[in-house]
């Protein structure tokens, strides 16, 4: 049963791609192989149990290739196994410091992802109106030439800055970083910053002068107490994190979980604090209160490494557990007890920095409070606390100076230094997302905010953004206010969608470039800042399927056509990689022979910096800033205060969202093997609340927000695991794209319920937990 389509959603519903097919030719730029072996994956046997048939890996020579997984941005090193030209299996690479030979459900689904029959197969150019989804298949020459022409038009009319480039997944470095900087647009953005990490990264910069980084530097092996604020490990199924968390807990580490929902992590915690949504900062302030008034902090550490303890102590005097209890729906005893459990174990007691931290709009301040506590506990630079990530040493392939320094950031990018001046593009324009407008509008600092680039596409303020290259971002299922995104797409002069699957937004493109998956290509080296910084290799297991082209190659082919030849001087991707690897005494061949990873020396602990007479904290003072002078100067609170968030109106629930362990964001719902295990999401609602409304498990309902938009139908999960004033669903469902034959119409979409978001005025993060919904009947 498909959704019935209402008028409000008519624009979003029409994503059936109507494609005029062309005859495939073996020539052309794309790597070609239409050979049968590459086209479809393993045949489905008629019988499930194959005993006594021999295992697939005994039926021919097994060819193993190294890769870093692209099924989520974490980038576990993997080994991909093929037999007789067919890719069959992916497992963790034992030599890789992220996977250590193990692999999560998403990683195991990579071959199925590659073999998804709904994949985009050919470059296409729009034939109907934008949004109708009518395309004709064209050659790569035609698609690239046409795209280049349109980009150069935008450059001539408005300047390079008028092109926005969005990117996600591990091929995004070629677009949101490399092409964007070579071309000269500061408007390059990734959802992984302002819809995810930004508050955490900016709070870390303000407090410690360093980023947290893509690989959170938790020193798990000796940790004695782990506190999770919302981090739902186990449902968030990042491989390494699950490994380390389970090992630490099994070893005897205490676990404190703060979550309005009885999550997987909450259910195995020593202390689960069923907090009222939106009140975490009150809890954190009360914890600080207990730690400072009872003098439970690491005095020697703070004397040596931190400024502002006196100011902090005075500031939190009123924020007692008794003050916080009624705000948070916790008891003063719970608050006091857990503060003591943590501080008794310092410095091996860490509040995990979390990852997706864009919740209520005041999120940088909440993360400041988290980092203040971690500082009181003396964790940074200590064994069993947090180590200092060190970046990889690896030279770039030589290229001319970039036309603009990028600020796309992102969870798979390397941490960079924040520059004092905003980078300007070639025609003198800074980024258009409202940064550096301070407390009166926009936001203070941080990576480019993707959701803030949508309005300029519609209003032309502060200047016109006329073009969009979108690499892999599921626009309608990530950026809040998707109806606004549709308006923007209508206004643009030119839209290029580069993707693997016909996701909802692809119907709105003028040109479509079909990407290969990570299994079908070489790619740039992955570099991981870490306790033991390391480099990862991606090598193809098969040639590109259909008429797809690797991300690096598309970037190069387009770059060559818009005057950027100087930035793409390598002849082959192998030459590019070997040139880079030469700087560390290696090559593709050597790296392959050495196990697919190059591991370098880190600089993880305080003693390593003391030995170098260097401070690991890059604040102006060289110390941890418990009170932030920079925030104060900009008109913000130097130390966080609690700011209540709006309550749901009568009859509505706060919409909370999270992850399912077999899926990644809105990316994998159509992957056959993963959809088989977890085909659709559910609406978690308190069991008693459901009964009062007349619903029970297995009922299908619609979810409606205050703007009257609906999503569904979705299964009711009536459970005791959630409070009565909130509902919860896993993200990535309710997609409306007829080209996605498995996931189309399954479940409900949290993104489509986000008719508003709360902009964090410090980091530009979009707080997404500020929407209220109710259960509705029918469409």
């Amino acid at each position: 049963m498909l959704l019935s389509i209402t008028d409000e959603r008519s624009d979003m519903a029409r994503v059936k791609l109507d494609i005029t097919r062309r005859q495939f030719l073996m020539t052309g730029l794309a790597g070609t192989s239409l050979a049968g072996a590459a086209v479809m994956g393993s045949a489905q046997p008629a019988l499930a149990s194959s005993y006594p048939d021999p295992a697939w890996f005994t039926k021919g020579e097994v060819v193993s290739t190294y890769n870093y997984c692209d099924m989520c941005p974490w980038k576990c090193g993997v080994i991909v196994k093929s037999v007789n030209g067919q890719v069959i299996k992916i497992d963790g690479n034992p030599a890789d410091p992220k996977s250590r030979g193990m692999l999560c459900a998403r990683g195991q689904g990579g071959v199925s992802f590659m073999n998804d029959p709904d994949r985009l197969r050919s470059p296409m150019i729009r034939t109907g109106e934008r949004g109708e989804g009518k395309f004709k298949e064209v050659t790569w020459e035609e698609a690239l030439d046409y795209t280049a022409e349109k980009l150069l038009e935008i450059k001539d009319k408005y300047g390079q800055e008028s092109l926005a480039i969005f990117g996600h997944t591990t091929g995004d470095t070629w677009w949101a970083e490399y092409f964007a900087q070579a071309w000269g647009t500061p408007n390059a953005a990734k959802p992984s910053t302002s819809i995810c990490l930004s508050p955490r990264e900016e709070a870390s910069q303000l407090t410690f002068g360093i980023p947290v980084g893509g690989h959170e530097p938790m020193d798990w092996d000796e940790m004695q107490c782990i506190t999770l604020i919302g981090s739902h490990i186990g449902e968030d199924s990042r491989n390494t994190v699950m490994q380390d968390f389970v090992s630490a807990q099994s070893r005897g580490a205490k676990v404190i979980v703060v979550d309005p929902r009885f999550s997987t992590a909450g259910a195995r915690a020593d202390h689960w604090l069923p907090i009222k949504p939106g009140t975490d900062t009150a809890l954190l302030l009360a914890w600080i209160n207990v730690i400072v008034t009872e003098e439970r902090y690491d005095t020697a550490y703070l004397d040596e490494w931190a400024n502002g303890l006196e100011e902090l102590t005075a500031h939190v005097a009123e924020f007692t557990p008794e003050w916080a209890a009624p705000i948070t729906d916790l008891t003063a005893d719970q608050i006091r007890e857990t503060a003591r459990v943590m501080s008794e174990r310092l410095p091996q007691a860490v509040i995990m920095p979390g990852r997706h931290t864009t919740w209520y709009g005041n999120d940088t301040q909440r993360m400041r409070a988290v980092f203040i506590i971690n500082s009181l506990l003396g964790v940074y630079g200590r064994h069993g606390g947090m180590y200092f990530n060190k970046g990889v040493f690896l030279e770039d392939y030589p290229h001319p100076p970039f036309a603009v320094t990028g600020t796309a950031g992102g969870c798979s990018a390397e941490p960079g230094e924040e520059s004092a001046e905003l980078p300007l593009g070639p025609t003198g324009k800074a980024r258009a997302d409202g940064v550096r407008q301070g407390i009166d509008g926009g936001f203070l600092r941080g990576a480019t905010a993707i959701q803030e680039l949508i309005d300029p596409m519609i209003t032309g303020e502060p200047y016109r953004i006329a073009g969009l290259i979108n690499y892999g971002v599921n626009l309608m299922n990530s950026i809040p206010m998707p109806e606004r995104t549709i308006e923007a797409l209508k206004q643009l002069d030119f839209v290029l969608a580069i993707d693997i699957l016909p996701q909802e937004h692809v119907a709105w493109a003028d040109v479509v470039f079909p990407d290969t998956t990570y299994l079908e290509r070489y790619d740039d080296l992955s570099t991981i800042a870490h306790k033991t910084p390391f480099i990862q290799l991606r090598e193809p297991a098969v040639a590109p399927m259909y008429d797809t082209m690797p991300s690096w190659q598309m970037s190069r082919e387009l770059g060559m056509r818009v005057g950027l030849e100087a930035f793409y001087k390598w002849e082959t991707i192998e030459e590019y990689l070997d040139t880079r690897l030469r700087s560390v005494g290696s090559s593709i061949e050597k790296m392959h022979d050495d196990g697919g990873v190059i591991i370098q020396k880190g600089k993880p602990y305080l003693e390593d910096f003391i030995a170098d007479d260097e401070s690991p904290f890059h604040t102006p003072s060289g110390k941890i800033e418990l009170a932030s002078a920079e925030l104060e100067e900009a008109g913000f609170d130097a130390i966080p205060v609690y700011e209540p968030t709006d309550e749901p109106p009568a009859g509505y629930y706060r919409l909370l969202y999270g992850r399912a362990p077999a899926h990644t964001f809105a990316r994998t719902q159509n992957t056959p093997v993963l959809a088989d295990v977890y085909p659709e999401n559910e609406l978690w609602i308190n069991e008693d609340e459901a009964t009062a409304l007349g619903y029970s498990n297995g009922d299908r309902v619609w979810v409606e927000n205050e703007a009257g938009t609906k999503t569904g139908p979705v299964l009711v999960k009536a459970t005791q695991r959630i409070r009565k004033d909130a509902v919860y669903m896993t993200h990535g469902y309710g997609q409306v794209a007829e080209g996605l034959t498995i996931s189309n119409g399954k479940g409900a979409s949290d993104t489509k319920m986000m008719s508003r978001y709360a902009l964090d005025p410090i980091s530009g993060g979009a707080g997404l937990r500020v929407n209220f919904v109710r259960i509705a009947e029918g469409a």
Binding site: S42, Q44, P45, A46, L47, A48, S49, S50, Y51, P52, D53, P54, A55, W56, F57, T58, I88, K89, I90, D91, G92, G101, M102, L103, C104, A105, G107, Q108, G109, V111, S112, G234, S237, N239, T240, M242, Q243, F245, V246, S250, G252, F262, T264, A267, D270, W272, P274, P661, A662, V673, D676, V677, Y678, N686, T719, Q720, R721, I722, R723, K724
Partner: protein
């Protein structure tokens, strides 16, 4: 040599990696999975307990599915319960008899975990064991697995006072040894499923006659039918011989027609 799996439920985090590794490594069709992660919850918000059942074949030593299988498609090997689908008649007795509800019917035949027979024979670890990020799974000789299970239980007793090994003796001993953080009933696992003889009694005295009458015989392979048919035919022949012999002695050529 008896082998076994270790499944440490104090570690399992319900991430489904084992489910997908098994599906891909064993090239299972869409619609089939050998492992199910099933959430369980008790109490009222916020006084709650909960966790996961990692539901999969328990590889019973005295497997009732093996006992009831008329064709021998199900059999024990190396301590694990194998299933040769091509020998399966689709009778469904295994589905009815398993105390853990494991075998499923798919395209007319039974399907279940066979302990990664061909994978292990090819020199690899079972796929679930190899991938588990929680390191909750192991595969080794049964006595080593039991020893490790007891060690792990001892190590977690402080945190989980009811921690126990499950599978040393339950259901007559299992090829899947679990470390449980609590009593099995709290984790939705049958405490001690009935011993196999009871199950086969039920099968012989209740299930079999019923299913015989319900044309289950039609589903049994030709060999079995043939044996039965031949047995009946031989009985028939013997009857006819006896009657003829009796007739010949009695001199009566109008022998009664013998009903088989």
């Amino acid at each position: 040599m008896e082998y076994a799996f270790l499944l440490d439920m104090s570690r399992c985090i319900g991430c489904e990696a084992c489910v997908v590794a098994c599906k891909t490594g064993n090239e299972l069709p869409i619609g089939t999975q050998y492992i199910d992660l099933i959430e369980h919850t008790s109490g009222t918000y916020p006084d709650l307990q909960g966790g996961f059942q990692n539901h999969r074949c328990y590889h019973c030593i005295d497997a009732s599915c093996v006992a009831v299988c008329p064709t021998g498609a199900l059999f024990k090997e190396d301590g694990l319960t194998r299933l040769n689908s091509s020998a399966c008649s689709g009778c469904g007795y295994c589905v009815q008899s398993c105390p853990y509800g494991i075998p499923k019917m798919e395209n007319g035949r039974a399907t279940k975990c066979d302990g990664c027979a061909s994978t292990v024979a090819g020199g690899e670890l079972p796929w679930c064991v190899q991938t588990c990020p929680a390191q909750a799974l192991k595969y080794d000789q049964r006595d080593l697995i039991l020893a490790e299970a007891h060690e792990r239980v001892a190590a977690i007793k402080g945190r989980y006072p009811n921690a126990q090994v499950y599978g040393e003796t339950q259901a007559g001993g299992l090829g899947l040894i679990l470390v449980l953080p609590d009593d099995p009933e709290k984790l939705d696992i049958p405490a001690d499923p009935p011993p196999v003889p009871v199950v086969t009694d039920v099968w012989k005295n209740v299930v079999q006659p019923v299913s015989m009458g319900a044309t289950a015989l039609a589903a049994i392979g030709a060999g079995v039918l043939g044996i039965i048919a031949r047995r009946n035919h031989m009985a028939e022949l013997r009857d006819i011989e006896e009657k003829e012999l009796a007739g010949a002695i009695a001199g009566d050529s109008d022998a009664e027609e013998v009903q088989p």
